[in-house]
């Protein structure tokens, strides 16, 4: 659909992730490493779950469309579960690594707190998930045509980009919440994250009824943002502090 759509969708899908990377991750090499390792963990989980799906489709009749669709749903649910398993595995790995990093670092104590690792790991998952969702669609959007010849909606590109954006941010928030839950041994958090992930997936099944899928997903994203904010040490008091701090700064400077 031409370069305009390509850039527009690329910016929508990857803009926030890009800015987060630039301002919070890029300057610290350790964070970069954790980000990339997190992306790799997500990738491995996808690979294993897709292997299962692939075997299932090859073993069955390719002509039966409802069966294939059901297999896809089954495969995706399996993938969601596997992603959360790998998130937990990554958490254990980082905890182990943290001790080692603390031993060799020059400062007293570990160079990265668990909260920071949680955020970076979640962002890593999110970026990789977004890339896989969006890259093929982006490359198709460079051509002169758009979706719709066989009856599909012409808003496909922009809604794909919006979903990818939501999913990236959701993975980040889930990472924060999940790791915090594991730290505090609150195992119900893991179950809730898994359920929310499954809920987002099932909402995406409503496409192309975009109103029914995009709006609820964004609502969930806002809720998760709030929860992640609180679980990483924020509070309403801090927000008011921020506000008055700015106020007082402007008062003193003027």
């Amino acid at each position: 659909m031409t370069a305009a759509v390509f850039f527009g969708c690329a910016f929508i899908a990857f803009g926030p992730a890009f800015s987060l990377f630039i301002f919070t991750i890029a300057k610290d090499p350790l964070r970069v490493i954790i980000l990339i390792a997190g992306a790799f963990f997500w990738l491995v989980s996808l690979l294993l779950s897709s292997l299962v799906w692939f075997i299932a489709t090859k073993a069955t009749n390719a002509q039966d469309l409802t069966l294939q669709k059901n297999l896809l749903i089954f495969g995706s649910i399996f993938s969601v579960i596997l992603q959360e398993v790998f998130r937990f595995a990554y958490y254990r790995l980082l905890r182990k690594a943290n001790e080692g990093l603390a031993a060799i670092s020059e400062e007293d104590g570990p160079p990265l707190s668990v909260r920071e690792m949680a955020y970076v790991a979640g962002l890593g998952f999110g970026i990789m998930s977004g890339a896989f969702s969006m890259i093929n669609t982006l490359s198709d959007s460079l051509g002169p045509g758009t979706v719709g010849m066989f009856g599909d909606s012409q808003y496909y590109f922009i809604t794909s980009a919006l979903m990818t954006l939501a999913l990236t941010m959701l993975h980040t928030f889930w990472g924060v919440v999940f790791f915090e839950g594991c730290e505090r041994k609150r195992w119900w958090v893991i179950a809730v994250v898994l359920c929310v992930h499954l809920m987002v997936f099932s909402l995406s099944l409503l496409n192309p009824f975009y109103v029914g899928s995009i709006l609820p997903v964004y609502a969930i994203m806002l809720l998760m943002a709030v929860w992640a904010f609180f679980s990483s040490g924020g509070s309403l008091h801090n927000i008011t502090l921020l506000w008055t701090c700015r106020k007082s700064n402007t008062e003193t400077s003027s």
Partner: protein, 664 residues
């Protein structure tokens, strides 16, 4: 998107002007518009709000006026797709009204009042579309499911309702047909010659192929130039034709009728010339590339003038050419001759005319000379006359203008010759069925054979025994106009060439690959029909010089597949010895390097990578800009918010923090 197969476009360039230009290298995209009438042309050309348009035409609308109107507004037209139906319109000829007018014999110096069709317009139905330059590609589409899909897409998305503009998304088509050649032949050939790199990029190639010739008495293929006391009667026909779209050139009346008749005449003469050889030799010549300013005949005349052929022009006694002979407008056929040389008494056509007219004894038609003094129709004979006065006659079914209503178009096919078969026959039975068309051409071939025998000084008493074989004629018509992959053609072809036989008729466009199917078929047919089967084995056939009585200089030896005997699966292959040769038919202009020559054909064909088309929907510009705008807004907002949060992170995320490490 969906890919569409489509034959395509015109791609040739002559010396001084373009003749159909191509698309841009990234393809031409346009919103599909199915043209309903000539008045509907207003929509793509002026009223439609979403230019450029890709115009889809039914063949009835593929006329000169519509194409020229689109040519004038070519910035609003991205391309044209023509739907080729299965039935023919009443008449259609994209060729010019005066074919080959600049390279024939008539010019300001020779019969100026006859030049440029001043007296007789040979192809009055010609609209000259094949020689127009278009800035957009022109495709052809067959009338099948894919074309229906395109029309349905147009009806679903692009139809203007009550004059208001249709809503996005719109159905569009993109045609890729980038041609590498530029401007005209001299420029293009000069670009070919630039060799900066190790792999020079050729951008165009000269048109050409091979002429096929055979003779009653063989000639030594290594001895060229004038032969003392040798007098030859030349019987000529042309092999090629063209259409607007290069892949569908059928040329039934334009070329097939002529060369099939000549092949049948050659076969009819075989026996009598072995029993009682005539005093003069008879040379059968089949010229390729005649459509494009007489490529084959001009090359043969050039070779004769320069001592590169087995005989030269002084050896020629007379020329009999078979033109278009299958579409009769009465019972008679006509003998055309050149009035200028007759008037000057430099040549004497009387003998040839008498021989021809007397040969129709016992047959149902007469051969008549036209009433008025008119020039020769476009024919290879004109190139011979250009070099030197020679007695010559062109045999044709038209007295003045062509009877052919589809000259050089894709409708000049079997239906144009009324070639019909009863519906319940299998392909093999159709091959053997003697149609009325075949019977009529057989009679013409009989006349031609008898006249040639008399003209060559043969024994008069044997003339009435010469008869062409209607079975052979009908098999040839089937193979050349319906399906070339039949048992007879398979039997006469070489084993390594059997892949050129297809279940459809061959294409008669001369091309650049020097290996066109008609040339090969005529070569092998002429060899089988005039040559002799020998006992040589396959290895002997390839190296006949080792045997005492055989000589590759005098004959060509061809190993052919032969028929499949009834109770076996192996073919009965054998070696044919015939005095049949191929000579190169590339315009002398390219040998001489005179790419801007006015005397010789300078046609070239552009090179191209691939040709394809696809259809898809296009979105409105507004939606695209909206997407871009939203994207840029999201990017900037996220940059700002992230910067803000990251600087204030220590305030926002207070809890137990190690003092040294940076916060979020």
């Amino acid at each position: 998107h969906r890919f569409i197969g489509g034959d395509s476009i015109c791609i040739l360039r002559q010396a001084f002007f373009l003749s159909c230009v191509s698309a841009s290298i990234s393809g031409d995209t346009g919103v599909i518009h199915v043209l309903e009438s000539e008045a509907d042309l207003e929509w793509p050309l002026s009223k439609g709000p979403n230019p450029p348009y890709m115009v889809l035409l039914e063949s009835s609308l593929f006329t000169r006026s519509i194409m020229m109107k689109m040519k004038n507004e070519s910035n609003r037209v991205a391309g044209v797709a023509v739907v080729v139906p299965n039935t023919s319109p009443p008449e259609f000829s994209p060729h010019t009204t005066c074919p080959n007018e600049n390279t024939g014999v008539y010019s300001d110096n020779y019969g100026p009042n006859l030049a440029h069709c001043n007296t007789t317009v040979w192809n009055p139905r010609g609209n000259g579309l094949s020689y127009e330059e278009f800035d957009f590609p022109v495709f052809s589409l067959k009338e099948d499911n894919e074309t229906e899909f395109i029309k349905q897409c147009y009806l679903d998305h692009n139809r203007a309702v009550n004059g208001s503009a249709p809503q996005y998304p719109l159905c569009a088509m993109q045609l890729f047909s980038h041609m590498h050649a530029v401007t005209n032949t001299p420029t293009c050939m000069r670009r070919n010659d630039i060799n900066f790199s190790i792999n020079p990029e050729m951008v165009c190639d000269p048109l050409g192929d091979y002429n096929v010739w055979g003779s009653i008495r063989p000639y030594n293929d290594t001895v060229f130039g004038h032969k003392e006391n040798e007098s030859v009667v030349i019987a000529a026909a042309r092999l090629d034709s063209r259409a607007f779209f290069w892949e569908v050139s059928t040329g039934a009346e334009g070329s097939v009728s002529g060369f099939v008749t000549l092949l049948a005449a050659a076969q009819a003469l075989r026996e009598v010339t072995h029993e009682a050889p005539p005093t003069r030799n008879i040379l059968f010549a089949f010229f390729q590339g005649e459509t494009f300013d007489y490529i084959g005949s001009s090359r043969m005349v050039y070779d004769m003038e320069n001592g590169k052929f087995v005989i030269d022009l002084d050896n020629i006694h007379s020329v009999l050419e078979i033109g278009q002979v299958a579409v009769h407008s009465g019972t008679n056929l006509f003998l055309h001759s050149d009035p200028v040389s007759r008037r000057n008494n430099t040549v004497n056509d009387e003998n040839l005319v008498n021989n021809l007219q007397s040969s129709t004894a016992g047959l149902s038609f007469l051969l008549v000379e036209p009433n008025v003094s008119q020039p020769l129709p476009p024919s290879s004979l004109q190139r011979f006359l250009r070099a030197q006065p020679i007695p010559g006659i062109v045999l044709a079914d038209h007295e003045s203008a062509f009877n052919n209503r589809y000259y050089e178009s894709f409708y000049d096919n079997a239906a144009n010759l009324n070639l019909t078969y009863p519906s319940d026959l299998s392909p093999e039975e159709q091959l053997e069925f003697v149609t009325d068309t075949a019977k009529s051409l057989t009679d013409v071939a009989t006349v031609v054979a008898r006249a040639l025998y008399k003209q060559a000084g043969g024994n008069e008493s044997l003339v009435n025994n010469i008869k062409a074989d209607p079975k052979i004629v009908t098999q040839m018509l089937y193979g050349f106009l319906v399906s070339s992959n039949n048992s007879w053609f398979q039997a006469v072809m070489a084993p390594e060439l059997k892949n050129i036989l297809k279940p459809s008729p061959p294409e008669y466009y001369v091309g650049v690959a020097m290996s066109s199917t008609p040339t090969r078929l005529v070569q092998y047919l002429l060899a089988n029909l005039t040559g002799a089967a020998t006992n040589l084995t396959q290895s002997q056939c390839q190296k006949p010089d080792e045997l005492p009585n055989e000589s590759r200089q005098m004959y060509s030896y061809l190993w052919v597949q032969g028929i499949v005997p009834p109770n076996s699966t192996e073919r009965d292959s054998f070696c044919v010895r015939a005095s049949v040769r191929l000579t190169k038919a590339v315009s002398p202009a390219f040998e001489l390097g005179e790419y801007a020559s006015k005397d010789y054909s300078t046609w070239t064909e552009s090179r191209w990578k691939f040709i394809k088309a696809r259809i898809f929907l296009v979105a409105s510009r507004d939606l695209e800009m909206l997407t871009l705008g939203v994207g840029v807004a999201v990017l900037f907002t996220s940059l700002l918010v992230t910067y803000f949060i990251s600087t204030k992170a220590d305030v926002l995320f207070s809890s137990t923090r190690e003092p040294a490490s940076a916060a979020y």
